[in-house]
Each structure stands twice: as structure tokens, then as C-alpha cells.
């Protein structure tokens, strides 16, 4: 049972373009949605997160758009740089809960 789905599995964009990574979830009880960034040989690290009471969260060149009714969200990476090449995981959890569910990840390659 995959509670959090991500697409595409891999994505290649040119330097300077906006990369769009998608995520959907099944459990309506989830109310916290972090995105983690992982570089090869390292563990994932929190990039940006949104709560279900908001429909948008920005931090630098990273923006989350959230649609509670449709149970989906997307991560936009504006002006992508080669250093943004990494795997991005969407995750979901309930406030006060302990389980954090991850999607299968999107591998992003930014070509110079």
C-alpha cells in the first residue's frame, strides 16, 4: 500500500529552468508534508515543508504548492542549478504522530 506517490521517477532539466516535482497522498489525516533532498552517499536532509492549512510555501528558489481537496502537492525549483541535482523525497505525517511515510523519490538532473 503506497500512501505517498511521486512523479516523475526521474527528471532532467536545463540550467535556469524550473523543475516541477509532483506528489500525491491517500490518507486525509496527513497534515504535514516535508520534502527531503538527498545527495549520493548522504542521508536525506529537510529542504522545505508545508502544513495542510497553507496552500503555498516559499523558501529561496523552492516553492511548495499544496491542494488539499485533490490531495496533491508539487515542489517547484526555480532557476535550477547543477548543484540542485539530487533525489527529492516527498513525505507525509500527522501532527502528534510518529510515523513518517515517504514517497519513492524523484531523481533530478540539472544539465549545464
Amino acid at each position: 500500500q503506497q500512501q505517498v506517490r511521486q512523479s516523475p521517477q526521474s527528471l532532467t532539466v536545463w540550467e535556469g529552468e524550473t523543475a516541477i516535482l509532483n506528489c500525491s497522498y491517500e490518507n486525509s489525516a496527513f497534515d504535514y508534508f516535508p520534502w527531503y533532498q538527498q545527495f549520493p552517499g548522504e542521508g536525506p536532509a529537510l529542504l522545505i515543508a508545508i502544513r495542510s492549512v497553507s496552500d503555498k510555501k516559499e523558501d529561496g528558489g523552492f516553492t511548495i504548492f499544496f491542494n488539499k481537496r485533490e490531495k496533491n502537492l508539487s515542489l517547484h525549483i526555480k532557476d535550477s542549478q547543477p548543484g540542485d541535482s539530487a533525489t527529492y523525497f516527498c513525505a507525509a505525517s500527522k501532527t502528534g504522530g510518529y510515523k513518517v511515510v515517504f514517497g519513492s523519490g524523484t531523481r533530478l538532473l540539472v544539465s549545464p
Binding site: Q6, Q9, Y32, P34, Y36, G41, E42, G43, P44, A45, L46, A49, F89, S93, T95, Y98, K99, V100, V101, F102, G103, S104, G105
Partner: protein, 111 residues
Amino acid sequence: GGIITQTPKFLIGQEGQKLTLKCQQNFNHDTMYWYRQDSGKGLRLIYYSITENDLQKGDLSEGYDASREKKSSFSLTVTSAQKNEMAVFLCASRQDAETLYFGSGTRLTVL
């Protein structure tokens, strides 16, 4: 700041062998996690522990045991390694905020 240390970084085992992975954190966090990362499958929760001596099964607990004897450490045991198994095991910790802090992983190969 703090750090999560996972040992060993690389683990090569034989089919049927019992293998133990260790994780230490100096954040003083209450909750710790073990995730398994397979290519194309994301992170799947094996075990988590809310506090010292607590153990909770995740979605992938079959074939694994865990131990949380101290607040700072969380061990995972593969009870019988499967031939040709290859995966990365990630340890993480968390306090009241929702952010998970991950170690760099233990890469398991079973011959």
C-alpha cells in the same frame, strides 16, 4: 547542532547470516527510526522507537529485530540475510518538531 553516526558504513554478509547495524545520535532526541532504502522504492519504515526501551514495528519489520537500550543508540539486526540483497539502511532521529535528521547510511550487500 548534532550528528547521527551509523556503523559500519559498508557491510558485506553471507546468506543466512545475522547482521547488526548500529546508530548513535547526540541530539538528545527521544524518537529514533530505521528506514530501508531500495532503488526506486523510496524509504520504507522498519522500526521506530519513541523513547528508551520502546520499540514500534513499521511496515517492513519482518526479518528484522531492533533494540533501544539507551536514549542515544538504536540498533537494527537483520535476522537472516537474504542472498543478493542490496540496500541502504538509514537511521534518523526526531524531537518534538517534525524534522527527521538522518545518518549517512549503512550499505548492505549479501553474497
